[in-house]
Each structure stands twice: as C-alpha cells, then as structure tokens.
Symmetry: C2
Subunit: 225 residues, 2 copies
DNA sequence: ACATTTCTGTTGTAATTACAACATTATGAA
DNA sequence: TTCATAATGTTGTAATTACAACAGAAATGT
C-alpha cells in the first residue's frame, strides 16, 4: 500500500488529506488492491457496484458495447482517477459499461457505503473525503460533456481537432501524448479508423498537425477548431 | 412555496424527506423562487455557480454554444429535476453551458454550501438530502452517457431509433411524447434538421414509426435499433 | 378571419463518410 | 535475425449527410 501513497496523495479523492491520515482512512474504507494483466475486465457490464475503484498504476479504458458488440470508448482512466463512482451512487441499477485494463495495472477498491457514512475514527478528514468525492463525480460529468462536444462536431476533421486542441489545452502544450492508439481514438470519437487515418494525413500535409505514434503537435493556433 | 410542494415531494432531491420537513429545509437552504418567461436565460454560460437550481414548473433546456454560435442541446429539464449541480460542486470553474426556459417556468434556487454543510436544525434529513444529491449527480451522469449512446451511432436512422426506443422504454409505452420539436431534436442528436425530417418520413413509410407533432409511436419491437 | 411568423417536410447536389481491400510499417516472439 | 502478427496508412466506391432553397402546415398575434 505504501508504494502507492504518492499516487493517492495526488489524487482528487484524497486531496487535502494529510498523508499519514490516508492509510488510516483506507482501513476505514475497507480498501483492497487487486492486480490486473493487460486486457482484463476490471469491471464487467451488468455488475452491481458497491465499491469505487481507483487506478493506482497502468492504464485502463471505460467501454460500452452495444447489442451487436460494437465497442465505444467512454473514457480513458489514468492513475489517481476513480471509476464506477456513478453506479456506486445508484446501487439498484447494474452498471452498463465495462472497465478494461489497457496495460498491467493495480486497482484500489473502496467500499462506497463507508465513503458515504461517517465513521468513528478519521472523522476530521471524512467531510473532506465526501467533498472530494462529490467533486470527482462532478469532474466525471465534465469529461463526459467534453467528449460530447467533440462528438457533436459534424466532420471527422472537426471532431479530431476539437479533441486534440482540448488535449493540448489540458497538457498546457502544443505537443502532447494521447492515451489512445488509432483504433481507440476512432472508437472514442465514434468514427471509422481508416477515415481517421486519412484525415490525419491530410492535416499533416496541410501543416496543421504533426504526429508520430501517440505524440501529436498542433501547429499555430488551432483552438476549438 | 406551498403550491410546489407536490413537485418537491416527487423530486429525487427530497425523496424520503417528510413533506412537513421540506419547507423547514428550504429555509436552511436559503431557497428562493424566480419566475422566467419563455426563452430567458436561467443560467448563462460563464457564470460562477453557487446555487443549485430545480425546475418547479414549465420546461427548460441545457444548451451549449460553440465558438461560432452553433447550438447543441445537452439535455431537457423537467419539473423536479435539479440543474447546474455539477458546477456547484466545482465552484472555481465557470459553467460552460446555459440553461434556457423553453416555456414560462418557475425555478427554485438553493445554496449549494448549505446542502453540503450540515445545519443545526433539520439534521435528521440532512444526511438523506446529501445522499439524494449524490444520486442526482449520478443520474445526470447516466443521462449524459445515454445521450452519448445515441450520438455514437453512425447513421441518422440509428441515432433516431436509439433515442426513440430509449424514450419509449422510459415511458413504458410504445406511444410517448418527446420534449423536443424537430429543430431541438436535431440539435440534441447533432444532426441536420431537414435530414432528420427526411429520415422520419422514410421510417413512417416503412411502417416502423408513426408520429404527429411531438407524439411518437414505435411499431413492433424496435429496441436498441 | 387575416396576416405574419414559425415549424415541418421535400428535394437536389456537393461534400463527407463508412467500408472493404490492400500496402506499409511497427512490434514481439522464437 | 526471421517470421508472424498487429497497427497504421492508402485508395476507391457506394452510402449517407449537410446544406440550401423552397413549399405547405401550424401557430400566433391583431
């Protein structure tokens, strides 16, 4: 547990909680760590959620598969981020998405009820925890809305540039890495992979964009383009 | 205030709170009611949010306008539903959407900080209020995800049928009213209005769908189509 | 009832996309 | 290294869409 303290300290959920208090709180939350290999289900669609997950290492994807097995990527999951929190708040509804490891990773699970109901010991920080949890759910909301912003654009070019300029802004740099390969990016934006590749080539030819693998550089001022 | 008690009782936020306690709580929450005419801003993009809104009567829309004034509808707002709750949880970030009345309506505003911080009086129900607030944010999350599900479909026909079958399911009936006119539905699904009308006509010709104004009937078993 | 405005449906065309099929380039294992 | 496999890029075509322009219907105000 100690090895992940630096991640926990930086996480939104434990923001403002003294490091020495965190491990005490983890006890209260019945926290346990599980390891996953690449491409494993961390959470499976249909599960009833009672624990909130937090990625400690590696990377994961939140995905949704429709009736015919067509896969959509809802979001990437980075270390320090919680997931399944929405469904933990509505325990009567089974989760309608899956969380899958995109590399080897470690995941912390915490009992939702113990986040919600004040415990006897670390109560000073419990209020803070609850506030942080609220703001984490709210942030999830923002990322969903942001994704919708990209998807609502009409052309592949607009969708891609909307996504990339948002990533650029997030990273405070015109050069940045994205957490997706080509197929994943296509599944995230709900477009065809080959059409995406094609459009990327054009943008590169036009000098708007440079890329190599997952590293992109946006030229000039293409914000909200 | 009394005239809206039936709405408040049925709302998610006050679910499980005794009716006689509700008005006491409204005091604690510094609740006040404002009236809006049709097409007025209830909340304006760029505002800093400290109050949570709840629609008491009429209908409203949560919209987003991009750089070039292109309007997207994020969600409709029905009586009893709260809004702006996401940004109330992250008060440092200005809201990036607007809420506009779609008819005359009354709106209840409640101080977010007083929802979060337990007050001295009605404390028994305050825990319940907090839980309900959490579940309301979570439900917002579900509606956003559901909208993304529709938008992620590749053709107008699929998007429309995905939306309509979800509405049918929500209403537990193959005949149901939707809260949008044609232009609004197009803005909600991010498609062209005339192309939407065109596709609707085809679906009607094919006997898959019947509609008149905002009332739709889905024939046979078109679920997740 | 009338005029005006808004909403909805229709059609044609140019632009865009999905899809398939294949070429090229990485990646990883033996 | 060599082979096999996965990831990415390229191209052509059929399908779909956006957009504009317009017609008819419905709603609204006077």
């Amino acid at each position: 547990m100690e090895e992940y303290l630096s991640i926990l300290k930086k996480s939104n959920l434990f923001s403002g909680v003294q490091p020495e208090e965190i491990s005490a709180m983890l006890n209260c939350l019945s926290a346990r760590i599980r390891h996953f290999k690449k491409e494993e289900f961390i959470i499976r669609s249909g599960d009833y959620i009672r624990s909130v997950g937090m990625l400690l290492s590696g990377s994961a994807l939140i995905i949704q598969e429709d009736f015919w097995g067509k896969r959509t990527i809802i979001s990437d999951v980075m270390p320090g981020t919680i997931f399944a929190e929405t469904y933990a708040c509505i325990p009567s509804i089974p989760i309608e998405m899956s969380v899958i490891s995109d590399s080897e990773c470690d995941v912390l699970f915490m009992d939702f009820n113990k986040i919600l109901h004040v415990c006897t010991s670390a109560c000073t920080f419990h209020t803070r925890l609850l506030q942080n949890f609220l703001s984490s759910i709210a942030r999830r909301n923002l990322t969903l809305t942001k994704k919708m912003q990209h998807m609502s654009k009409k052309t592949i070019r607009e969708k891609l540039l909307s996504y990339l300029s948002a990533e650029s802004l997030k990273n405070n740099s015109s050069t940045f890495d994205i957490p997706f390969n080509r197929q994943q990016l296509a599944d995230y934006l709900s477009i065809d992979r080959s059409a995406l590749s094609n459009e990327m080539s054009k943008l590169q030819d036009e000098g708007i964009l440079t890329y190599k693998k997952n590293r992109f550089t946006l030229k000039e001022d293409f914000h909200e383009g």
